[in-house]
C-alpha cells in the first residue's frame, strides 16, 4: 500500500525538502487535481509516498529549487489547472501555446546570436515538436523545446470511469510504451485495491515488458545509425525490430502488444508449444542482433560521430531526475526493475557501460548491453508456459496507488486515486516526460547538424509526454 501524507500548504517546501534531503527519497512526479489539490510522489526503494496539500488562493510554494525534476510538472499544472507557484519565476508556459515568443523562450543575446526554429511539422515521419535553437554559426547555445501539440486530455477523460475502463486511456497514451504504461496503471490500481499479483502474473507481465524493451531497443539502435546516415546499420536494425514485432504478433496477436494487460489478471496465455516457439525464435534474434551490433562496432565512420557528442553530465542527470538508459549512460545506477517485487527481476543489476561518458556513444552502448540482458531474461522466463492467472486480494487498501515500471526509456510512474471504486485522478508520468528537459541540456554547446543524432540517442516519445 502507498501512504497518502497530507501536508499544510505552508509546510509544502519543508515536507519535500525533508523527504529528499533527510530521507533520501526521489521525486517521482507531481500533479494537480480538479479541486485545487496538489500532489507529489516521492520514491524510496520499492516504496512510494504521496504528499498532498490544498493550494491557498490557487497558489503553492514552488519546489523547483529543491527538485529540479518538478520543472515541467509545475509548468503543466499552471497551464492545465491554473495553479500558481510562488518562487517559480519566470513560470514559462508548457502546454499553452498562445503565449508570445518572449514568454516561453530562454532569453539569449549577444553578437551573432540568432534563432533557428524547426517544426512542429517536419519533413519525415516524426511526431509534432517545435525546437527553437539559439545559435552562433553552427554552435548551439541553448535549446527551447515546445511539445504538447496533440494534447488529448487522456487523464481528464479517465476520471469517473471504472478502473478497468480507464486502462485503455493509459494504454493509448503511446504505442511504443503501451505495455509499460498499462502495467504501471494496473499496478497502481492493484496497489490501491489491495491486490497482489500471483507468481504467474508477475512472470507474464515481465515477459511482455521485456518484449517491448526488445523491439524498442532494436529500433533505437537503428535510429542512431539513421541519425549519422549509416544506412547498413539502420536497415539491419529496422529488419530486426520488425522481426521482434512479428514475434509479438504471432505470440500475442498484436505488434505493439496492445490488449495484453488487465487489472488483476492477464487476458493472454501462451501454451507450451507457443512458448517454446517464441523462445527459439528469440534465440535466433539474439544471435542476429549481436552479429549486427558487432558490425556496428567495426563501422569506423559511424563510431567517429558518437564520442563526446551530446554529453549529459552525471551531476545534471542526478539533479534533473533523468531516468532509464540515458541516466545509466551518465553513470546513475538507477533501474526501476531492480528490487521490483511486483515483477520478476531477481538479481538484476542496473547495466553500466564500460565508460559512463554520458554521450551518444554511451547511450548507444547501454542499449546494446541491455538488449543482451533482455534476451537472456526472456529465455529464462519462457522456459515455462504462460498461464492465465490473476492477482489475489488480501493486502491493505489505500486511497491512492502507485505503479512503477521501467519502460524502454526509463522509469514510468503511474498514480491512481480511487473514490468509491471509480478513478478520481489518474496521473501517468512517463520516462519521456522525465527526460525531455535533459535533451535540451545535453544539446547545448553542440553543433546544429548533430542535434538529430543527440535527439535520437534519447529517442523519447512525444505522445507519452502529451497524454
Amino acid at each position: 500500500m502507498t501512504l497518502l501524507r497530507p501536508v499544510a500548504a505552508r509546510a509544502w517546501r519543508a515536507a519535500v525538502s525533508e523527504a529528499i534531503e533527510r530521507r533520501g527519497e526521489r521525486f517521482g512526479g507531481a500533479w494537480a487535481t480538479r479541486d485545487g489539490g496538489w500532489r507529489a510522489v516521492m520514491l524510496a526503494g520499492d516504496e512510494a509516498v504521496v504528499l498532498c496539500c490544498d493550494a491557498e488562493d490557487g497558489r503553492v510554494d514552488s519546489i523547483v529549487d529543491i527538485a529540479a525534476a518538478a520543472l515541467w510538472d509545475e509548468r503543466e499544472a499552471h497551464d492545465l489547472h491554473g495553479l500558481g507557484f510562488i518562487g517559480h519565476d519566470p513560470l514559462r508556459p508548457l502546454i499553452e501555446h498562445t503565449a508570445e515568443l518572449e514568454r516561453w523562450v530562454t532569453p539569449v543575446s549577444g553578437e551573432g546570436v540568432h534563432q533557428v526554429a524547426v517544426g512542429p511539422i517536419h519533413a519525415g515521419v516524426i511526431e509534432s515538436g517545435h525546437f527553437r535553437f539559439h545559435v552562433v554559426g553552427e554552435r548551439i547555445l541553448a535549446l527551447d523545446t515546445r511539445l504538447f501539440h496533440k494534447h488529448r486530455g487522456l487523464e481528464r477523460a479517465a476520471e469517473g470511469l471504472a478502473p478497468d475502463d480507464a486502462l485503455k486511456h493509459a494504454g493509448r497514451a503511446c504505442a511504443a510504451c503501451a505495455v509499460a504504461n498499462t502495467v504501471a496503471y494496473a499496478q497502481a490500481v492493484e496497489d490501491a485495491t489491495g491486490l497482489w499479483p500471483s507468481a504467474d502474473l508477475r512472470r507474464q507481465r515481465t515477459v511482455l515488458l521485456e518484449l517491448e524493451r526488445l523491439y524498442n531497443h532494436l529500433h533505437d539502435i537503428g535510429a542512431i545509425c539513421a541519425g549519422v546516415g549509416f544506412a547498413p546499420g539502420s536497415m539491419a536494425f529496422a529488419a530486426l525490430k520488425d522481426r521482434a514485432q512479428e514475434l509479438n504478433a504471432q505470440a500475442f496477436g498484436h505488434r505493439f502488444l496492445f490488449g495484453t494487460v488487465a487489472i488483476g489478471g492477464i487476458p493472454v496465455a501462451l501454451d507450451p508449444p507457443a512458448a517454446g516457439a517464441l523462445r527459439g525464435a528469440l534465440r535466433e534474434l539474439r544471435a542476429d542482433a549481436l552479429a549486427g551490433w558487432r558490425d556496428l562496432t567495426f563501422a569506423a565512420s559511424m563510431q567517429a560521430r558518437l564520442d563526446g557528442v551530446g554529453v549529459l553530465e552525471l551531476e545534471d542527470a542526478l539533479r534533473m531526475g533523468v531516468v532509464g538508459p540515458a541516466a545509466r549512460a551518465s553513470g546513475v545506477p538507477l533501474d526501476a526493475r531492480v528490487g521490483n517485487r511486483r515483477l520478476v527481476y531477481g538479481g538484476l543489476r542496473p547495466a553500466s557501460p564500460p565508460a559512463a561518458t554520458g554521450d551518444v556513444a554511451a547511450r548507444l552502448r547501454i542499449r546494446a548491453l541491455e538488449l543482451e540482458a533482455t534476451c537472456d531474461m526472456l529465455d529464462e522466463l519462457l522456459s515455462l508456459p504462460l498461464a492465465r492467472d490473476g492477482a489475489s486480494p488480501g493486502r491493505e487498501r489505500s486511497p491512492v496507488g502507485v505503479g512503477r515500471v521501467e519502460s524502454p526509456r526509463g522509469e514510468t510512474v503511474c498514480t491512481v486515486e480511487l473514490v468509491a471504486a471509480r478513478v478520481a485522478r489518474m496521473h501517468l508520468r512517463s520516462a519521456s516526460y522525465a527526460n525531455w528537459p535533459a535533451v535540451a541540456r545535453a544539446t547545448a554547446g553542440n553543433l546544429l547538424p548533430d542535434f538529430p543524432l543527440i535527439n535520437k540517442s534519447f529517442e523519447l516519445c512525444y505522445a507519452c509526454a502529451d497524454r
Binding site: 526554429a117 517536419h122 546516415g229 544506412a231 547498413p232 539491419a236 565512420s301 559511424m302 560521430r305
Partner: protein, 308 residues
Amino acid sequence: MSSSALIAVAAQLGGVALAPLLPGLVQTAKARLQGRRGPSPLQPYRTLRRLWSKSSVAPAGTGAVYRVAPPLIAACMLIALALVPIAGRGPDLGVGHDALVLVGMLALARFAAAAAAWDTGNGFALMGAARDAMIAVFGEALLVLALLVAALPARSTDLRSMAAAAAGGHVWGQAAHWCGAIAFLLVVLVETGRQPIDNPDTHLELTMIHEGPLLEYAGRDLAYLQWAAAARHWVMLVLGAQLFLPHPAGFAGALAALVVAGLAQCLGLAVIETAQAKMRVLRVPALLGLGCAVALAGVATAIAGLAA
C-alpha cells in the same frame, strides 16, 4: 564533319537527356547494396515529369533573385555540359572547352543558389547555402588543383587536350596522375553532394547542405534544380572518366571506356555512400585540405616531370 564528330555532338546533346539517369543508377545500386528493392533508375525522369507539369510558387517577399536562380543554375549546367568533351571530342558550340570556364560555371551556379537562399531568408536554405559556401572554399581549390594536375602534361587547359594527354597506359606510371585521381575523387563527392560530405537522402533539415536551398522551390523551378543536380553528376563523372580513369586514345575505344567508367563510378558512389556514415560537418574542410595537399604533391611532381 566526320562521323565521330557527329557522334560526339549526339553524345553531348544526349548528356542533357541522360544526366538524370546517373543519380537514378546510384540510388538503385545503393538500395540493392542495403538490402532494399529501391526505385527504378528511371525514377528521376518520373520526378522531373511530375514537377514539370506543376506550377511554381514563390514565398511572399521574394524577388527577382529567387525567381531567376533556377533557370540560371540550369543554364550554367547546360554550358558546363557543352564544355565537357565526350571521348576526347567536342564540337564547337561557341563556348570552347576550357577547364577554367567550367570551374567558373560551377561557381556561378553555386552563387545563384546561395543568393536565392538569401532572398527567401529561410533559415534552412541559408544554413545549407552557408555550409555549401564553406565547403566550396576548399572544394573549388581542390577542383582547380586536380584539373591543374591533368592540365600540366597537356600544357593546355583545353579539356580535349587534357583528355588526350590522359589516354593510354603510360600516365599510370606517373605519381602525379595518381595524386590527381585521388583528389578528383573527393571533388566528385563534394560536387555531387554525396556521403560522407552530404546525405542526399536525408529528411533532417538541420543536417542538410545541398538540399537546404532547394526547400522553398516547387514545380518547374524544382525541376530545373533537380536536373541541374543530375547534370553535376554527369559533368563530374564524364570528366573523371576522361581525365583520371583508363581509356584508349581512339574515339570508339574511348567512348566504350566512358560508358564502362560512368557505370563503374555510379556503383563506386553507391558503395562509398553505403559504407560511410556522414562526416561531422566541421571535419569536411580537414578532409578536403588533405585532398588539396595530395593534389599539390601531384602538381609538384608534374612540374618536376616537365622540367626533366
